[in-house]
């Protein structure tokens, strides 16, 4: 479908560094990465705005590296939407039809189709600067989709919106993806977008895609500390691993954990907060790790409560409000935390840290 093959490009402070990305079917991809990772220029390069210094881009079997954007059938939407201010909503939506001189009946059909899906029929004669954030977003989506693109690129489409509108638009984008069956590459730095939308996720860092896969695979097996951190794994500890023949001991400062996998050298240990069980008493289970802890703080977080614990080191566990009430958790309580060994993700950092320092 789309194959970005070893693309390198430097544009001012931003760069792509031998980046490869492969979309095989019309999937919903979310690319997540910190600002400055080069996410926007990646999208612009796929759209054909920038020509790569090195590498090729293939789309539907053709080498499109040197195609003009207009010939790629790839639509794009920026966070700041870029609705043309000197045109009405209708003129904005029909712009590509006017430029491409598409047949009239065809236009009407497409417009009414999309306008209905997105519910913007009442906005059609307004000027873009009179629209609310969510309305402007829908108009920009309609404008991008009206030319029946075969790939849709979304650059932080939800970042500038309030949380209500964001949730609604997420559903709409999902609906569009299902309805039109086109692949989407969606860039974000919001972790929620990955959970809510992604069929596949790619992690981007320093101009490279460092990990791709199904969200659950990437989340449960982050391959670098950075990936673990942006995946929302809240417990990330730096430490030193020492192999001892049958396994290894992870020295995390004020806490040592013994695991059966052999590691040695500097490591980052990731433990997802959802994988930690809190109990009032020690209980027998197959889980190998139980630690005594003091509750430090309770932080409400939607339907859940994040419980900050002191087990010698600071840990965060996620519990429901109900269990929090039932256990009468409050700062100062003594509790036990339990987690399975498979929940402990050890990432050796020796080499990677050296690389990142360069």
């Amino acid at each position: 479908m789309l194959f970005v093959d070893n693309v390198s490009l430097t544009l001012g402070d931003f760069h792509l560094n031998s980046l490869s990305l492969h979309l095989e079917s019309p999937e919903y991809w979310v690319i997540i990465g910190p600002s400055g990772a080069g996410k926007t220029i990646l999208l612009e390069t796929i759209a054909g705005i920038h020509r790569p210094d090195k590498g090729r881009i293939y789309f539907e079997g053709n080498d499109i590296t040197h195609y003009q954007p207009k010939d790629r059938h790839i639509a794009m939407m920026y966070q700041d939407l870029m609705l043309f201010p000197h045109m009405t909503v209708r003129e904005n939506i029909l712009f590509s039809m006017k430029i491409r001189k598409t047949d009239d009946d065809d236009i009407k059909e497409k417009v009414s189709d999309l306008v209905n899906i997105l519910g913007i029929s009442n906005l059609i004669d307004r000027n873009p600067d009179t629209l609310s954030g969510g309305e402007a977003q829908r108009v920009a989506l309609t404008r991008a989709l009206i030319q029946k693109p075969r790939l849709l690129l979304l650059d932080e489409p939800l970042s500038a919106l309030d949380s209500m509108t964001r949730e609604r638009l997420r559903q709409e984008i999902r609906k569009i993806h299902q309805h039109l069956k086109i692949p989407i590459i969606h860039i974000t730095h919001h972790f929620e977008d990955v959970y809510a939308l992604a069929e596949k996720v790619a992690i981007m860092q320093d101009g490279m895609i460092v990990q791709t896969g199904k969200p659950e695979d990437v989340f449960s097996h982050p391959c670098t500390p950075y990936v673990a951190q942006i995946c929302g794994t809240e417990n990330i500890f730096r430490g030193e691993a020492t192999a001892d023949g049958t396994g290894s001991v992870l020295n995390l400062g004020a806490l040592c954990i013994r695991i059966t996998a052999p590691y040695s050298g500097p490591v980052v240990v990731a433990l997802r907060s959802e994988d930690i069980i809190i109990s009032l008493e020690r209980f027998r289970s197959s889980a190998r790790h139980t630690l005594q802890a003091t509750v430090v703080e309770l932080i409400p977080s939607g339907p859940f409560i994040r419980v900050v614990l002191n087990t010698g080191i600071r840990m965060i566990a996620m519990v429901t409000r109900t269990s929090c009430e039932e256990f009468a958790l409050k700062p100062g309580c003594q509790v036990f935390v339990t987690f399975k060994e498979s929940a402990i993700h050890v990432i050796p950092t020796g080499e990677l840290d050296d690389e990142r320092r360069q």
Binding site: A47, I49, P69, K70, Y78, F84, I99, R100
Partner: protein
């Protein structure tokens, strides 16, 4: 000092306004109704007005033809050798027009390019064509600068989107960037035109001051002042003042408009 600072600034601002009003307003008091009619109906001033209008409109158009594309490419950056090019292009802005005029005169009179043009029948020195060339040369850097900053305020992402929507580079510029730069373009053209109407130094050097031949309004003012025809000179000065006032009015209106956008 603190409590005097604000009043002093205000007094100085009003003082400057007062001086301007006294000096320019005073000019109007020197003309008599008789001399206005006499001047405006005189063939010499009629000729000067017509010549000034024609040359300034042509030179402004030619400035636009060059300045719009140049300003655009310079606003988008990334041009090889952009910095020295910009410095070179902006140099004439701080150059006295008289110097530009002398350089133009020598260029067209003494260099192989100038004499070559002369040989194929294009005579610039001491002709009406010289007026247009002088106005164009002096005003071009100004309009390039205005267009460059107008385009620079428009995010290139508008064009990127337009290109994904089916535009070629040129269509994206023509349908999106240029209309969005409308306010800057119009005010730039109005000011350029008004500067061309009033251009004196460079025109004097390149086109000379020949009565009824290369006699634009400023040249007419100069010639009549030199020969002591004060009435005609003052009326001409008032016409130029009127043009400046109208231009300023348009400019203010336009910049208000662009702030609202």
């Amino acid at each position: 000092m603190g409590k005097f600072f604000y009043p002093i600034t205000a007094i100085l601002a009003f003082f400057s306004g007062g001086v301007t009003l006294l000096v320019l307003g005073g000019l109007i008091t020197f003309i008599s109704p008789d001399s206005i009619v006499q001047t405006l109906t005189s063939p010499e001033i009629g000729y000067a007005i017509q010549l000034s209008l024609v040359t300034s409109i042509i030179s402004t158009t030619l400035c636009a033809v060059v300045a719009i594309p140049s300003g655009y490419i310079l606003s988008r950056g990334g041009l090889y050798g952009q910095r020295p090019l910009v410095m070179l292009l902006m140099l004439p802005l701080s150059l006295p027009p008289l110097v530009a005029g002398v350089a133009l005169l020598l260029f067209f009179a003494r260099t192989p390019i100038g004499t070559g043009l002369e040989d194929i029948g294009i005579t610039v020195v001491y002709t009406q064509l010289g007026i247009i060339v002088a106005q164009w040369f002096v005003n071009l850097p100004y309009l390039i600068r205005v267009m460059r900053s107008s385009f620079a305020m428009i995010s290139p992402r508008y064009e990127h989107i337009a290109r994904t929507l089916g535009c070629t580079d040129f269509q994206a510029f023509w349908h999106i960037t240029l209309p969005m730069a409308r306010a800057g373009l119009i005010s730039g053209l109005v000011i350029t035109w008004s500067k061309a109407m009033g251009e004196f130094g460079a025109v004097l050097m390149l086109a000379g001051a020949t009565r009824m031949h290369t006699e634009t309004l400023p040249i007419a003012l100069y010639l009549n002042m030199a020969t002591g025809d004060l009435d005609i000179a003052i009326t001409t000065a008032c016409i130029l003042l009127g043009i400046a006032a109208v231009t300023m009015f348009f400019f203010e209106r336009l910049s208000e408009g662009s702030e609202r956008v």
